[in-house]
């Protein structure tokens, strides 16, 4: 690892900026921790504190139905000093996690996989950002900063995913699977990334070595590694909690069945508030199926760019997963700059970004009107989460369009620059 001066600069400034923010506005972390846009039931730092309190007093952390996060977080956080008397070490721990995530992004970017992979080579190779710029986009994204300051545990899932990807593009497929196992253990949904990730590893393997492994065997082998890593982590968790089914139902059951309908930026809560109980199970099934269905479709259609499939799936998760927060959006925004060469092909960036900006300002305002001022109602906030999702969807659809266009231009070099007619 060659220490790059620019990288050190960016990382240093990002670190100092975060430190300055918590020193100048000591109330900011707690404020952000309480925001529904940042903290959901499955990543809230407040709930983690509750679980930690129970855990350190030898009570099952899942008693009381407040804590729904993975049990392995508890021993890690019990090592950190008490958050009320000394919040800085915890904050710095989170800053470091952010920096580590950014470093993983640098690795991904510098592998060049987003531009040139086994089956695909982008047409506009010269338009790209280097790893440090990509990391800077991630580190200085207000959503990332807000997530980091709110000490949301989503950052660990983000780490898992980013390291899985960075190891995959680096050809280190076993580590990739282990990292993905960690992410899936924490949040369940990253398991959906398995297929595109294995494809990234597979392509990488084919490129680097002459003898090609059998595809089916390769996939099965890696599935086994993933399963083993998850099982290992579950076993550890069992050791910690002592009651296997209790923690499974409190964590993964909570993810799958969506019993907590606290408002968030996603689409599920309002839908299930309105739902009659008799239809609930059916629609939970439909919603999960909908979420999972993108994996197959995107992977098949964009077979040549599995890394792009991962990026797009992260965008899909940010919109359609049960408890989304802005940290999911920030992860998607972190992956997008890897595809800088697609930006000229995108058509609605300004509109999408305006929609996202509008909703990120109006969201808190409407939430305030609903909850605090009492002069609005739930529909105000839900309308804004719809706009937020719309903005993200436009961005996502637009980026997929440009990726497809890029593939098409690669296949038809003579057609470059011709008009696309949409009928």
């Amino acid at each position: 690892m060659a220490v790059d001066r620019r990288m050190v600069g960016v990382f240093g400034v990002a670190f100092v900026l975060r430190l300055l923010l918590i020193c100048l506005f000591p109330a900011l972390p707690d404020l952000l921790t309480g925001r529904v846009e940042v903290s959901t039931p499955v990543n809230s730092f407040k709930r983690l504190q509750e679980g930690l309190y129970l855990y350190t007093r030898n009570v099952s952390p899942y008693d009381g139905g407040v804590f729904h996060q993975a049990p392995l977080l508890l021993p890690i956080f019990s090592l950190l000093p008490d958050i009320h008397s000394n919040p800085i070490p915890t904050a710095i721990f989170y800053f470091l996690v952010d920096l580590v995530n950014a470093y993983a992004l640098v690795t991904i970017s510098e592998s060049g996989q987003s531009i040139q992979s086994r089956l695909h080579s982008a047409v506009r190779k010269h338009i790209q950002w280097d790893g440090v710029s990509v990391a800077a986009w991630f580190l200085f994204n207000p959503f990332t900063i807000a997530t980091c300051l709110a000490r949301s545990t989503s950052v660990f899932t983000t780490s898992g995913i980013l390291f899985a990807v960075s190891n995959a593009v680096g050809g280190n497929s076993v580590n990739a699977m282990l990292a993905l196992g960690f992410a899936s253990y924490l949040s369940l949904y990253p398991a959906l990334l398995f297929i595109p990730l294995v494809l990234v590893c597979y392509d990488q393997r084919l490129e680097s070595s002459k003898k090609s492994p059998k595809a089916v065997g390769y996939v099965l082998q890696h599935a086994a590694i993933l399963a083993a890593s998850v099982v290992g982590l579950l076993a550890l968790s069992y050791l910690i909690t002592g009651n296997f089914w209790e923690f499974i139902s409190a964590t993964y059951g909570f993810h799958l069945l969506v019993p907590d309908l606290t408002p968030n930026v996603g689409l599920w809560w309002y839908f299930f508030i309105e739902m009659f109980d008799s239809f609930r199970e059916f629609f939970i099934g439909v919603f999960w199926l909908h979420l999972a269905s993108y994996v197959g479709g995107l992977t098949a259609r964009l077979r040549r760019q599995p890394l792009f499939v991962i990026a797009s799936l992260l965008g899909v998760f940010a919109i359609f997963k049960p408890y989304p927060s802005i940290s999911d959006a920030s992860l998607y925004f972190a992956m997008l700059p890897l595809y800088r060469h697609l930006f000229p092909l995108m058509r609605y960036t300004f509109f999408a970004i305006s929609a996202i900006l509008y909703s990120s300002l109006l969201g808190p305002a409407f939430y305030h009107l609903w909850i605090y001022a009492g002069s609005g109602n739930a529909n105000f906030f839900y309308a804004i989460t719809l706009v937020w999702s719309l903005g993200l969807s436009i961005l996502l659809a637009d980026s997929i369009f440009s990726a497809l266009r890029d593939e098409w231009e690669q296949d038809h070099p003579e057609e470059q620059g011709t008009e696309v007619k949409q009928v």
């Binding site: 092909l345 058509r347 609605y348 305006s354 305030h368 009107l369 605090y372 011709t418």
Partner: protein, 814 residues
């Protein structure tokens, strides 16, 4: 034999100067027992009601005097002069019809018609029907006499005969001298009359609608305002305003006087002892007295000390509050009655505090409360309630003591003010909260309905003492409301409740008139009864409204588009500029590729078939150079924190100086930045026109975003800032010959500087005659204590946008 009837009856031919007594005696004389009995049966309920409204003495004076004489006079006139006949009249039925007539007018005002099939019959005609029916059914009835009585009744009901009532001073004197209250059973004193003196329901003055010759006619008409506004109405059925009888009368006044005397003495003593000049300083002895009175009345009492420091001024004091636990409730909900020792205008609120004390004692004895009632006595209207309400919700700062005693969720608050000795004429209702938040319109309507409808006291708003419902008056009311909302400061003790979603208003007696503290007390009693009825928090009616009269408002759906259009203008301009950065008319004739696709995107989105020109002519592809514009715009917005911090944290003596310094900074800084940008910051390449467009685009985008968000929170502020920023859409870097550029941009800069935040502040202060220091001290106080964020909007939204506008214009010089 001397006949009483012959002596006292109203016989037209017998009337001369010597027999004028007949004009007043005839109602007392009846022809027989049954005549008297029937009349007495009809008269008793009507007269009883009249007496309850006007007091015993007034009733006697009126009925023995003018209300007998006037109908008789008219009767004589018609009977003798016009009809030349001589029908004698006796009996009190004349009074019955007079009272019926006056009642009918009152009914007509609240309920103008009753429907009989398809016909709408005005209610004022009902005594006429009665008169006709009676004439048909009973023989020997004077139809003409009754008609005359009804006529006088109408006149009385319409309030034209007010002048007949003996002055209150004389009545009081008689009352006092004869001790009538003590001697007579069922005596209704001057102070006990329940309704307004001439208990007439408030009428809306529609005469102004046809008023054409107004100087602002070219702007609009009342008709247009009518089309865009609605009459207020009570939306929450549970409130039932004015449906209960208010019993706060009679002996309570003695208690009021007693309490007032005690407090007055203590205040005077304290002032002498401490030799203080400040008239409104509350002595500890007086506070202790409040404490002991509340305790004696059987309330749970507690105190809370607090201290705030803002702009180098320390505000401290002690709140006293007592809680009546609801006999029929479970202490989950409460109503707050606030009396501050100093009113919002810093006057001594002695009668208000006394009234609250009297009400506390009075309410305690009622068993019908289903919500707790909290009586809060604060030293002033600015800090006291804020400290109390913060502590009530456990959100108080260190310098404020927590509350030892609490009740349930607060449902509403009413602030009582009565800062003078004389009687008042109208109630002024203050309703604006901190940061432009308003109470539910139902609360305001309840106050108006009770004050106007039940008590007969008119209600004013926004200091519009003479509101004739004309176009100008309506506009002025709205303007004042919007100014207060936009500035977002606390307009009274009630304002602090608003951020906690507790609807609150202040009732201020104003003017010199007939109404006394008992009338105010009854109004508050009736309001508490209405709030007591609530089954859930006030939520039915509007939270966003602009009032143009006490009975007319504009709802959010009507007015919000205006602010959104202003905010939208910036966004549209930002999009236009963004697209423009895609073109390079001056560099290459061939429009480069990817950018063109972007620039064309919206122009064609409407079409069914969307054509996209996507050229991949990479070499010519102009990238938008966004790093510098993004950094500059973000940086300047963050720079806004500097004045924000400065104006909220320095000592108040330096505010004026700081303002002038900022005026200078605002002149120099844009030129400096413009020079820096034009010369490429000394290191990098000079800035290109595209980047100027991008800077402007980002700045306007942010401005539009912020203002449209703000419009949902504080419409007026967004509207005002939007108007002040409107020129920023249209200015940019100038091109053309140097001389022209210099001239125009210098002129433009001067004009723009006139619209800069500090200059606007100075201008407004000069116009209103308030010192800059006062305004800024108040603003800093608002920031520190009330949680007011008008400054954030000024310094972090308006100022950066303005600054970037100036930099754009200034860059044409360099």
């Amino acid at each position: 034999m001397w006949s009483v009837v012959q002596w006292g009856a109203l016989i037209p031919d017998e009337i001369n100067l010597g027999t004028m007594y007949r004009l007043n005696t005839y109602p007392l004389i009846h022809t027989g027992f049954f005549h008297a009995l029937l009349n007495a049966l009809a008269l008793t309920p009507l007269l009883e009601r009249f007496e309850a409204e006007h007091g015993t003495l007034t009733s006697i004076a009126l009925f023995v005097g003018p209300l007998s004489t006037f109908p008789a006079g008219i009767y004589l006139l018609i009977e003798k002069v016009i009809l030349h006949s001589n029908t004698s009249v006796v009996g009190s039925s004349i009074w019955v019809f007079l009272l019926l007539g006056s009642e009918a007018i009152r009914t007509y005002k609240s309920n103008p018609h009753f429907s009989l099939g398809p016909y709408k019959i005005p209610t004022w005609t009902s005594p006429l029907f009665a008169c006709v029916v009676l004439s048909i059914l009973v023989s020997n009835v004077s139809f003409l006499g009754h008609l005359c009585a009804i006529l006088i009744g109408y006149l009385f009901g319409l309030g034209y005969l007010k002048f007949l009532v003996p002055p209150e001073k004389i009545l009081r004197w008689i009352e006092g001298k004869l001790n009538l209250l003590g001697r007579l059973p069922h005596y209704i004193s001057v102070d006990q009359k329940t309704f307004g003196r001439y208990g007439v329901l408030p009428s809306s003055n529609n005469a102004a609608n046809g008023n054409n010759g107004t100087p602002m006619n070219f702007l609009g008409t009342n008709q247009r305002l009518d089309d865009n506004s609605r009459r207020t109405y009570i939306s929450e059925n549970a409130l039932l305003p004015g449906q209960v009888h208010a019993y706060f009368t009679g002996s309570e006044q003695n208690i009021f006087r007693g309490y007032k005397q005690e407090l007055q003495t203590l205040l005077n003593e304290g002032r002498k002892a401490e030799d203080q000049e400040a008239e409104v300083e509350v002595t500890p002895a007086a506070s202790n007295k409040v404490h002991s009175i509340l305790q004696a009345a059987g309330l749970k009492v507690a105190t809370q000390k607090y201290e705030y420091t803002s702009a180098g001024i320390t505000h401290q004091g002690e709140n006293i509050y007592g809680i009546i636990h609801a006999p029929r409730g479970d202490a989950t909900e409460a109503i707050v009655l606030v009396a501050a020792w100093k009113t919002a205008d810093d006057e001594l609120n002695l009668k208000g505090v006394t009234l609250a004390l009297t009400l506390a004692r009075y309410f305690k004895r009622w068993s019908l409360w289903s919500k707790d009632i909290i009586f809060l006595f604060t030293p002033d209207s600015k800090t006291g309630t804020q400290a109390w309400i913060d502590a009530y919700h456990d959100l108080h700062p260190e310098s404020v003591q927590p509350l030892p005693l609490k009740s349930g969720a607060l449902q509403g608050a009413v602030v009582i003010e009565y800062p003078f000795e004389h009687h008042f004429q109208k109630l002024h209702i203050v309703y604006d909260g901190v940061n432009g938040q308003l109470p539910n319109l139902d609360l305001f309507n309840t106050a108006v309905a009770i004050a106007g409808g039940q008590m007969g006291i008119g209600a004013n708003l926004q200091e519009m003492w003479e509101h004739n419902d004309s176009y100008e008056a309506r506009l002025q009311t709205m303007m004042r409301g919007m100014t207060k909302q936009g500035l977002g400061y606390a307009t009274g003790a009630h304002s602090s409740f608003m951020p906690y979603h507790i609807d609150a208003i202040t009732l201020q007696p104003k003017g010199e008139g007939w109404e006394d503290e008992m009338a105010l007390g009854r109004t508050i009693e009736s309001m508490c009864r209405s709030l007591n009825n609530l089954l859930e928090h006030l939520h039915q009616s509007f939270f966003f409204y602009l009032l143009m009269h006490s009975n007319r408002f504009v709802s959010i759906g009507t007015y919000l588009p205006s602010a959104m259009l202003i905010a939208g203008n910036f966004t549209i301009m930002a999009i236009a500029l963004w697209m423009r950065t895609g073109y390079y008319p001056e560099s290459k004739p061939d429009t480069p590729a990817g950018e063109k696709s972007k620039s064309e995107k919206t122009s064609k989105t409407g079409a069914q078939k969307i054509e996209k020109a996507v050229k991949v002519n990479e070499t010519a592809l102009p990238e938008r150079l966004m790093a510098l514009p993004l950094t500059l715009v973000t940086g300047l917005h963050l720079l806004g924190l500097v004045p924000l911090w400065t104006f909220n944290n320095i000592f108040h003596q330096y505010f004026t100086t700081a303002t002038y310094i900022f005026v200078v900074v605002d002149i120099v800084l844009p030129l400096f930045l413009a020079a820096l940008l034009s010369n490429g910051l000394g290191v990098s390449k000079p800035i290109i026109p595209q980047q100027y467009h991008l800077i402007k685009s980002f700045a306007l985008l942010l401005l539009g975003l912020s203002l449209s968000t703000l419009a949902t929170l504080n419409f007026s502020l967004s509207f005002m800032i939007g108007l002040l920023c409107a020129p920023l859409s249209f200015i940019g870097r100038l091109q053309g010959p140097a001389a022209l550029r210099y001239g125009v941009s210098s002129l433009g800069l001067v004009l723009l500087n006139l619209l800069s935040p500090p200059i606007v502040l100075l201008g407004v202060c000069w116009y209103t005659g308030v010192s800059v220091e006062t305004v800024l001290t108040q603003a800093a106080f608002g920031w520190d204590v009330w949680g007011m964020w008008t400054q954030v909007v000024v310094w972090c939204v308006w100022w950066p946008a303005w600054l970037i506008g100036c930099v754009q214009l200034g860059s044409s010089i360099f």
